[in-house]
């Protein structure tokens, strides 16, 4: 438990407040970095526009990439929420959160494989998928709770750098743990066909069975369908919509929990002021554990969803999505929940759309993601939806 701090400290960077008189001056001469950023933004916009006008970037590409970007971005958002929740309460970046995500995907692999071998995956696909997601959530939550108890709680009152380094250590330790336990080899999620709504899609997935034609409906997981929407020819993967939809539902549930429930309110109170929350009768440790549980549950579900469409699972798959989600959280404003949701989706879409819109190789998508972070932080150091850190936090 920290002690009460009586003297308010002037928040850093707010000491020299002056009203911007002239937007142009403000962003050019007074702040050369912004000038560079501005030139860069104009240049990018020019290239993108040029590619669109000359027709080397087409609308069907844009539509396809946006849909994929939303799916990928949903996973980023689910992970980013974990970073932001923990940061909001402990002012700590849980760098092992990528591994929390990975453990969900990895344990999910064992479960879905077992369900496949038992045949349950084919007889009751929907329930089997739910079980897989649930076990991924359970695995991630277990790991996160253990992390909090073993690695972070003893350091609650240590200087802020200490838990940060511990988190990096925990990240490596978890990767190595999975590596030693389960080996380096890439695990592959089975191909799942999950047919739904044959009434709504009467012409999909039709096969001759004993001379009669049977149509099974939309394949939510492995289906790929060529459709024509408003004159644009698209190849649609329902899994992308599924991931996006599930993520939206989970985020809505999180929002409701934080805004409406007693525990959610306690969480916001603890984020603002731990000592005072304790004086209200809040068990601060329990709130902190709950925060880790929520973040891990979202990451675990995200891990299984990610593995369902990416299929490849290794002990290292948490690293890049983890960094990306962290970027997304900072982009949206770390500590800010809608910021993490928005930042994740935004990053996913930009990363998917930007390379070919700018006529670059798709391999440069990571460069684009991180450049965008730098660009946005130049103009809004607290992120897109971030508020100026209150002095209670600083």
């Amino acid at each position: 438990m920290t002690t009460t701090d009586a003297t308010p400290v002037a928040p850093l960077g707010r000491r020299f407040i002056y009203k911007p008189r002239n937007w142009f001056l403000e962003n050019t001469i007074r702040s050369p970095l912004r000038l560079v950023g501005l030139i860069f933004v104009v240049f990018i916009a020019y290239v993108a526009l040029n590619n669109i006008v000359t027709g080397s970037y087409r609308i069907d590409q844009f539509a396809r990439q946006t849909i994929f970007g939303l799916a990928q971005g949903s996973v980023y958002a689910l992970i980013a929420l974990g970073y932001t929740l923990v940061y909001g309460i402990l002012l700590m970046i849980n760098f092992a959160h990528g591994e929390v995500f990975m453990s969900g995907a990895y344990i999910g692999f064992f479960v879905i494989t077992a369900l496949q071998n038992s045949g349950f995956l084919y007889t009751n696909t929907g329930i089997a998928l739910l079980i897989t997601v649930f076990s991924g959530v359970l695995a991630s939550v277990t790991i996160a709770v253990a992390l909090e108890r073993i690695a972070y709680r003893p350091l609650r009152n240590a200087p802020r750098l200490v838990p940060l380094i511990t988190a990096i250590g925990a990240s490596i330790a978890l990767q190595q743990l999975f590596l030693r336990l389960f080996g380096v080899s890439t695990r592959r999620y089975p191909d799942v066909n999950f047919y739904v709504l044959p009434q709504l899609f009467p012409n999909l997935e039709c096969h001759e069975v004993d001379g009669a034609e049977i149509c099974r409906g939309l394949d939510l997981i492995s289906g790929r369908y060529d459709v024509n929407v408003l004159g644009i020819n698209l190849r649609i993967l329902p899994i992308h919509f599924l991931v996006f939809f599930v993520a939206l539902v989970m985020m809505a549930a999180l929002w409701f929990y934080i805004q409406r429930t007693k525990m959610g309110k306690a969480m916001r109170a603890v984020a603002e002021d731990k000592s005072t929350a304790a004086l209200m009768g809040v068990n601060v440790d329990r709130v902190i554990v709950t925060t880790f549980v929520l973040g891990a549950a979202l990451a675990g579900a995200g891990g299984v969803l990610y593995a369902l469409y990416n299929q490849q699972v290794t002990p290292f798959i948490g690293f890049i999505p983890g960094i990306k989600a962290f970027t997304a959280a900072v982009l949206g404003g770390i500590g800010n929940i809608p910021g993490a949701m928005f930042g994740g989706l935004f990053l996913g879409v930009v990363e998917s759309v930007a390379p070919s819109m700018l006529g670059l190789s798709n391999q440069l998508k990571d460069v684009i993601a991180f450049s965008m972070l730098v660009l946005i932080l130049i103009f809004r150091p607290t992120g897109i939806l971030g508020e100026v850190l209150s002095h209670k936090k600083a």
Partner: protein
């Protein structure tokens, strides 16, 4: 039997020895005030009672039950409720949510709703502003909210840390009226920490004077009001 009894507590901040054997007691229905200069250890005393800065030695008894080693939330559940120095309103929670936080350890929905109504009747400004964020309230309104929030816990004993701090004289009057009212009409036992010794002694039954972590005087409020040393040091001569 005292409602609250503090026996010879010592509290440290790292190597800073903030409380050097503080003892005091508060009887049921009393207003007891704790006065003393800046840095005397008043806030530390309240925080030690509440378990925020646990005592290194000594004991704290609530109706003869030892609460010295209990966690802050357990102490609140037993009815020891503090309204902290500087009000500490949750600025990003609404006024209503702040009051709900006050009732966090309670599970009687109807009782909580009744008490919320009571607080709104006592402080009509809070009702008007119940949907606003706590941070948008004025200093006086925040103090009302802080007291209202503490009341929402249905305290056995209410610890108030400098409720008049930073308020205009008219508001200070109002706050002291509220405190007196709570004590006389609702029978709430109060331990009041104040720098405004004059007004605190005027409404208190008994008082303790704290200086550099020691209790230097303990007497009835009336006696201390006439004590020459106290007059010199705390009552402006």
């Amino acid at each position: 039997m005292s409602l609250l009894r503090v026996n010879d507590i010592h509290t440290y901040y790292g190597r800073i020895h903030a409380l050097k054997g503080v003892s005091l007691s508060v009887d049921e229905g009393e207003i007891v005030t704790l006065i003393g200069g800046n840095g005397a250890g008043k806030t530390t005393t309240l925080n030690t009672i509440c378990g925020i800065t646990p005592a290194a030695s000594g004991s704290i008894l609530l109706r003869d039950r030892d609460i010295t080693r209990m966690r802050p939330y357990e102490i609140v559940q037993l009815g020891v409720v503090q309204s902290p120095e500087g009000r500490k309103i949750f600025t990003r929670l609404t006024v209503r949510e702040n009051l709900e936080m006050g009732a966090f350890s309670r599970n009687d929905r109807d009782g909580v709703a009744r008490d919320m109504e009571y607080v709104f009747e006592r402080f009509p400004r809070l009702r008007e502003r119940q949907k606003q964020l706590g941070g948008t309230l004025s200093g006086g309104e925040q103090q009302m909210l802080a007291i209202g929030r503490a009341l929402m816990a249905r305290p056995q004993i209410l610890l108030l840390d400098e409720p008049s701090m930073g308020l205009a004289p008219l508001l200070v009057r109002e706050i002291f009226d509220v405190i007196t009212y709570l004590n006389r009409e609702s029978g709430t036992t109060i331990l009041l920490v104040e720098q405004n010794a004059q007004m605190a002694l005027a409404i208190a039954d008994r008082a303790y004077v704290l200086q550099s972590g020691y209790v230097t005087h303990a007497d009835t409020a009336a006696a201390l009001q006439n004590n020459e040393t106290i007059k010199q040091a705390y009552l402006g001569g």
